[in-house]
């Protein structure tokens, strides 16, 4: 992998909030225009890894580089990185104004040209079917509408690096899921936008992510294409990605299911 082509480089990161490590010696390189999905069981550090890449968290060991520049190495470097990176947390904050005001303000924060910004906001509102509520206060929005607004706020920045924590969560309806899948795929392929996202649903990732980074027990156990993960798990090409991930990270899941349905001898069925 050419160094010039690397957008994000996670170099031997170890992190812990208390005593036990949430991430241990994790390294990952993401190419420009690549869409990488971070997956793994609950509590394995997916959000922490995204937070570290986004610069929200500070690693106790190791470093994160964006476009070859280490995060927080200097104020000017960090300013430059923040202009190029947008981070959408799983529980993104929304102000009490309208969605249109929020999107315009967010775009201006990232220095988007005003003419383009107004057009882009209109197109995003249309894309996520927010036209009816775009000029109402966000306090009246449903959970899904709030999530769509938050997603639109990430897209309106036109940032070349996007860090998205569970973008498909938060009550998105089928049309929202479909729209987001297509937008992310097109951004990565046509605009060469680098996207790192965490999602717990393998079905949404299959056919979308170029590579899947698997976290388990605070370490990165695999980072490869979905097909390569299937091969690694010893499964055929038409097997689901979910089965491959479970076979690699938690092979005892199926055994646990069988165990759950085993009834003790003598109990009435």
């Amino acid at each position: 992998m050419s160094a010039d082509n690397i957008a994000i480089e996670v170099d031997r990161i170890t992190h812990h909030y208390g005593v036990r490590p949430v991430l241990r010696d994790v390294s990952l390189a993401v190419r420009r225009g690549e869409l990488v999905s971070v997956m793994g069981p609950n509590g394995t550090g997916k959000s922490t890894l995204l937070g570290l890449i986004a610069g929200v968290l500070w690693p106790l060991k190791g470093q994160v580089k964006v476009d070859g520049v280490a995060r927080r190495s200097s104020a000017d470097a960090e300013r430059a990185i923040r202009r190029r990176v947008v981070y959408l947390p799983a529980d993104a904050w929304l102000p009490s104004g309208t969605a249109r005001e929020f999107l315009l303000a967010t775009g201006r924060l990232y220095g988007i040209d005003d003419d383009r910004l107004v057009d882009h906001v209109d197109r995003l509102i249309q894309l996520f079917h927010l036209s009816d509520v775009a000029d109402s206060t966000t306090l009246s929005y449903s959970t899904g509408q709030k999530r769509k607004t938050a997603l639109a706020s990430a897209l309106v920045t036109e940032a070349p690096v996007m860090i998205l924590d569970e973008p498909f969560g938060g009550g998105l309806d089928p049309s929202g899921l479909l729209a987001l899948r297509h937008v992310l795929k097109r951004l990565a392929e046509s605009e060469r936008t680098t996207i790192v996202m965490a999602t717990p649903v393998p079905e949404l990732v299959d056919g979308l992510a170029h590579r899947v980074a698997l976290l388990h027990d605070a370490t990165l156990v695999a980072c490869d294409t979905p097909d390569a993960l299937r091969r690694r798990a010893g499964l055929p090409d038409d097997a689901s990605l979910n089965e491959a991930i479970e076979a690699i990270t938690q092979p005892d899941t199926l055994a646990h299911i069988e165990h759950y349905f085993q009834r003790p001898e003598g109990r009435a069925s």
């Binding site: 170890t14 208390g18 005593v19 060991k61 947390p89």
Partner: protein, 427 residues
């Protein structure tokens, strides 16, 4: 425990109230504070106490739209290219209808008090309204100052502050209120003049016809809209370091000269007001120790100064750490041997330095034989300059420090469970 902003403001408010009550008791130990007789005697002194409390009210009003009041808003900004000093995306303090009602109602009550001074109204009748009236005054003057500063006329601001102090010094009763009212009226006028632009913005945001969209686009391009967009300025120019040790030093001093000058200019009005307060207190309350210059008792000036210093130190610390947590919990620090994290713990140096400077300089001034007012006055420019210098450092620290930006609680229940596992060695 991290003190939340509102808790901090409440604590601070209670502290000031207790202190004001204490000062009242100290000045008048033999007087029943609830008699009507006190109303006439405490009135002028209470005006200044109220000004302090009104400042807190103003602060609260300002903070209602400030990221400091909402950790989530602050964290959301912290992960964007926004930085301290740049305009806030969701505007500034806006006057609402409640402000207008307060201002009208309380101005009437104030007028009634001064017209019927001989009647000796119960002190609560005018004390509480006066607090809120001054609060509105502080907020509007604050906003007015912003407008003036944005027009690069800082001298006008300083001149207003000094002249207002001069007016207060010359005229104790009715003229003082007249000057205050005039300034409130001016500030209100300036504030209200900006409002129609906000309404235009809101109307056109709802107008999705081609003409409406065209207007909005032109308005944004021409920067003619107030509030939401006008306050979004250009990016800060990167600072270029000068090579070589001597030129580097000169460059650093030149870069910091702005803070030093601003420190002197800001401290000037503060010292001036301190002087005005001391003269008024000695004029209106000749029994107070400041008027007697009694060496055996602490001066009223130092009581105010000490309270302000402690409050400022506490305030600076809370403002700096709010939303920027330690990268590891206290238990984690103790368990892993990371007792000091320099990249984070530097946040404690600035307030500590403030406290040390605030204590040391008056002592040095006292050794030189300066009077109490001058002792406090000597410390203020240094304190303000230190604070302004620390702002630059802290602005950098927000980009480079070893902190966690608190978008989500760092110690979620899952994380708390994880932290009870076996210790690791990552040093």
């Amino acid at each position: 425990m991290r003190l939340r902003p509102l808790n901090y403001l409440t604590t601070f408010g209670v502290m000031i109230c207790i202190a004001t009550w204490g000062v009242g008791e100290w000045l008048r130990p033999s007087t029943d504070p609830f008699t009507h007789e006190l109303a006439g005697k405490l009135g002028p002194f209470a005006m200044f106490g109220m000004l302090i409390v009104a400042g807190l009210y103003g602060l609260l009003r300002v903070k209602l739209v400030h990221p400091f009041n909402d950790i989530c808003y602050m964290a959301s900004l912290a992960i964007t290219p926004w930085e301290p000093g740049k305009p806030l995306p969701f505007g500034r303090v806006q006057l609402g209808w409640t402000d207008a009602i307060f201002a009208a109602l309380l101005t009437g009550m104030w007028a009634a008090y001064f017209v019927t001074r001989d009647v000796h109204l119960p002190w609560l009748v005018w004390l509480l309204p006066a607090v809120i009236l001054f609060g509105v005054y502080v907020v509007t003057l604050w906003r007015c100052s912003f407008d003036v500063i944005h027009r690069s006329s800082t001298r006008v601001c300083y001149a207003c502050t000094y002249l207002f102090g001069l007016a207060a010094l010359c005229a104790v009763d009715a003229p003082y209120v007249t000057v205050a009212t005039l300034i409130v009226a001016y500030a209100l006028l300036r504030s209200l003049l900006g409002e129609p632009f906000e309404h235009r913005l809101r109307r056109h945001l709802r107008d999705t016809t081609p003409a409406g969209v065209r207007f909005l686009r032109d308005a944004i391009r021409d920067n003619t809209l107030a509030g939401l967009h006008r306050r979004l300025g250009p990016d800060t120019q990167p600072v270029t370091e000068v090579e070589g040790s001597i030129p580097w030093l000169i460059g650093r001093i030149r870069r910091r000269w702005g803070e030093v000058l601003a420190g002197l200019l800001i401290a000037g009005p503060v010292v001036w007001w301190l002087y005005v307060a001391s003269v008024l207190v000695s004029h209106l309350m000749p029994h107070a120790s400041i008027a007697r210059h009694d060496e055996s008792e602490p001066s009223v000036i130092f009581l105010f100064y000490g309270l302000a210093l402690v409050a400022a130190t506490f305030g600076v610390l809370v403002i700096d750490i709010a939303g920027y947590g330690s990268p590891i919990t206290l238990w984690g620090r103790l368990s892993t041997g990371r007792w000091i994290i320099p990249g984070y713990d530097i946040v404690y140096v600035m307030p500590l330095g403030m406290l040390l400077i605030g204590v040391a300089i008056p002592h040095l001034a006292a050794l030189l034989g300066l009077p109490p007012v001058m002792q406090a006055a000597a410390a203020l420019p240094v304190l303000v300059t230190w604070w302004l210098l620390s702002r630059r450092w802290m602005d950098d620290w927000r980009f480079t420090g070893a902190h966690h930006i608190s978008t989500v609680p760092v110690m979620t229940p899952d994380k708390r469970r994880e932290s009870t596992g076996r210790p690791i060695t990552t040093r």
